[in-house]
């Protein structure tokens, strides 16, 4: 089953990861702080009346959307990480690098801190959606800004995009810091929790809001696979191989802007997935983006749902922030993989 280079073929990998995803889906929907009997779960799935009157609500209105949202967010963050790592030819690139997360954070924290004062009108206008819409807009606008800065005479300079991202991150970070300074105690706690991510509020409405953008990003991403492989050989090679370099860059930026913007909007900041999942995939399956992109989606979604399933039971009845859980599980996992490949 191993290729000569010691790497796994993609078919068995797909089987393994596919069953892992399925297992995680089952665990995620069937477990939680609120105990549900297997009989009740089956009854609800079969569309029958469960013995516990809240069983169908817990399953269909809370756990199902939470699982779907978690999987989608994990998949999108991992794919966007892979896209940026390919585009920048830099293994340290993560979705935050071109300013999406920073811009989204600034907007979200502005809503948390200024919601009762300056931004009262915005809250009145958007209601429950004030924070996600602001975060998405903030994230998209920062990406657009970074791209405008890097765009000289119709050409996008990747190095400038990176530097613009760093500068924007710094400015947005300062804005976030300033808001933190003016925040009250409750607001401080709220924004701290937001920066650690959460799926605790996830419902169908979050999916309706975020899924279109995230699905669009996932649908566009495969188109980038071959050009990104060409990028591995150097930017000048991309054009020689017949790809329109600048279109590739634009699509990549749109994928990351929409995908990460929507993911952050509905779940807060969840680190680790975007940076490390593509590396995990490359370690096992090789560096071709035709493999890295779909498997990153599958692994990212699976890992995030697994982390969320744990996050909501380990300190039950309370819940741990998902970003925290993700790093706790993913960090050692990644280290183990690194040590293993070094031995080989």
């Amino acid at each position: 089953m191993m290729t000569p280079s010691g790497r796994l073929d993609s078919t068995p990998a797909l089987l393994i990861l596919g069953s892992a995803a399925l297992a995680v889906a089952l665990v995620s929907v069937s477990s939680g702080a609120y105990p549900l009997s297997v009989a009740d779960i089956l009854r609800v799935i079969a569309g029958k009346e469960a013995a516990d009157p809240v069983a169908s609500m817990v399953l269909l209105e809370v756990r199902m959307p939470r699982f779907l949202l978690g999987f989608l967010v994990g998949a999108v963050l991992a794919v966007c990480g892979a896209v940026l790592q390919g585009l920048f030819r830099n293994p340290l690139a993560d979705p935050g690098l071109i300013g999406v997360s920073a811009g989204a954070s600034l907007a979200a924290i502005a809503v948390i801190v200024l919601g009762n004062t300056w931004l009262g009108g915005w809250l009145a206008l958007t209601g429950d959606w004030a924070l996600p819409i602001a975060a998405f807009t903030g994230g998209s606008l920062t990406v657009l800004l970074a791209w405008r800065i890097a765009n000289r005479s119709g050409q996008t300079a990747v190095a400038t995009l990176l530097l613009a991202g760093i500068a924007i991150n710094a400015v947005a970070g300062a804005g976030t810091g300033l808001l933190t300074f003016y925040a009250s105690d409750e607001e401080l706690r709220s924004l701290t929790f937001w920066t650690m991510g959460s799926l605790g509020h996830a419902g169908w409405d979050d999916l309706v809001l975020g899924a279109p953008f995230m699905v669009l990003a996932l649908v566009l991403a495969p188109w980038l696979a071959r050009p990104l492989d060409a990028f591995l050989l150097g930017e000048s090679v991309v054009g020689h191989l017949g790809y329109r370099t600048d279109t590739v860059k634009k699509v990549a930026i749109v994928v990351v802007g929409l995908g990460v913007g929507a993911a952050v909007a509905v779940s807060g900041l969840i680190g680790f997935v975007g940076l490390v999942v593509p590396h995990l995939v490359r370690q096992v399956l090789g560096a071709s983006h035709r493999v890295v992109l779909p498997f990153s989606a599958l692994l990212g979604g699976t890992l995030l749902v697994a982390a969320d399933s744990l996050a909501r039971v380990v300190v039950a009845p309370a819940e741990l922030p998902i970003g925290l859980m993700m790093a706790l599980i993913g960090g050692p996992f990644f280290l183990a993989l690194l040590l293993r490949t070094r031995v080989m």
């Binding site: 702080a33 817990v58 003016y182 105690d185 706690r189 959460s198 300190v315 039950a316 009845p317």
Partner: protein, 282 residues
């Protein structure tokens, strides 16, 4: 027949507004002050869970913790199978509160209290929700009498002392209380003012600002006992208020909770206030 009757009684009980809770009500509180009220009314046997801001009295440690009141989990709270959740305006996310209501939990949101009046009102509200309205009224009458005495004594002082209010946060930083804080509200209850009127909220301390503040008294609120180490803040020791012993160091939940212990907090702060203004510093 019997179960039919029971369901009719239940249906009637659910329709009646402000129905008082039975002694076997399963109660979850998400707000430190509300939890204190429940204990003060002797109704802690109803509690099946509290949030992480509920750290007083010590017995709360034995109860399941549902997390921070700004990040309430839906399933976690529901798993405790509560009949009633009492929380404050700060509770979030609203979606999870709605879901709890939908799952059959009675969710009561009380306004936060930043005055003795609102604080006593909250005691009454909790009493009524738990079916102990008369006990709560008696407690409120007792607290009101003691608060009135403290108010009268504070008025008789004849001037409004300027108080440096310090919030110890972690081992190495302290925050200074400014306008629109629970600290200011507490000082107003004892006819005193916050030293930093140009500050808004709690801000990290500037050592020079402490020296320049020249307060009549110093109040230090610790979230963990023994957290504040005066040796890290020599500036405070240079202040006349410190040298003259017009100072108080105590638990921040006592001082800022505006729960049933508000009167104790007021008494403690009053004791630290000098009878006459510090002439040398004015």
């Amino acid at each position: 027949m019997r179960s039919q009757l029971a369901s009719i009684v239940l249906a009637v009980a659910m329709v009646l507004p402000g129905v008082s809770a039975a002694a076997d009500t399963r109660l979850v509180t998400a707000d430190g002050a509300i939890t204190e009220i429940v204990y003060r009314l002797g109704l802690e046997s109803m509690l099946v869970g509290v949030d992480t801001t509920s750290g007083y009295p010590e017995q709360t440690a034995a109860l399941p913790k549902i997390g921070y009141l700004r990040a309430l989990p839906f399933e976690g709270v529901l798993a405790l199978r509560p009949d009633l959740l009492i929380t404050s305006e700060q509770a979030a996310p609203a979606k999870n509160l709605d879901r709890l209501r939908k799952a059959g939990v009675q969710v009561e949101i009380l306004p936060s209290a930043w005055s003795s009046e609102a604080s006593l009102k909250r005691v009454e509200s909790v009493g009524e929700l738990l079916g102990r309205g008369s006990e709560a009224t008696a407690l409120v009458a007792d607290l009101q009498a003691r608060i009135n005495n403290l108010h009268a004594a504070a008025e008789a002082r004849g001037y409004r002392p300027k108080v440096l209010f310090v919030l110890a946060a972690g081992n190495h930083t302290v925050m200074l209380a400014g306008k629109n804080t629970a600290a200011e509200a507490l000082l107003n209850e004892v006819n005193a003012d916050i030293a930093f009127t140009d500050l808004e909220g709690y801000k990290p301390a500037s050592r020079e600002a402490i020296l320049a503040s020249r307060p009549d008294a110093i109040v230090i609120a610790e979230s963990v006992p023994g957290q504040f180490n005066i040796d890290n803040w020599p500036e405070l020791k240079l202040l006349d208020a410190w040298k003259l012993g017009h100072r108080l160091k105590t638990d921040s939940m006592l001082l800022l909770g505006f729960g049933p212990r508000l009167v104790d907090a007021m008494a403690a702060v009053s004791k630290a206030l000098p009878a006459n203004p510090n002439v040398a510093t004015r």
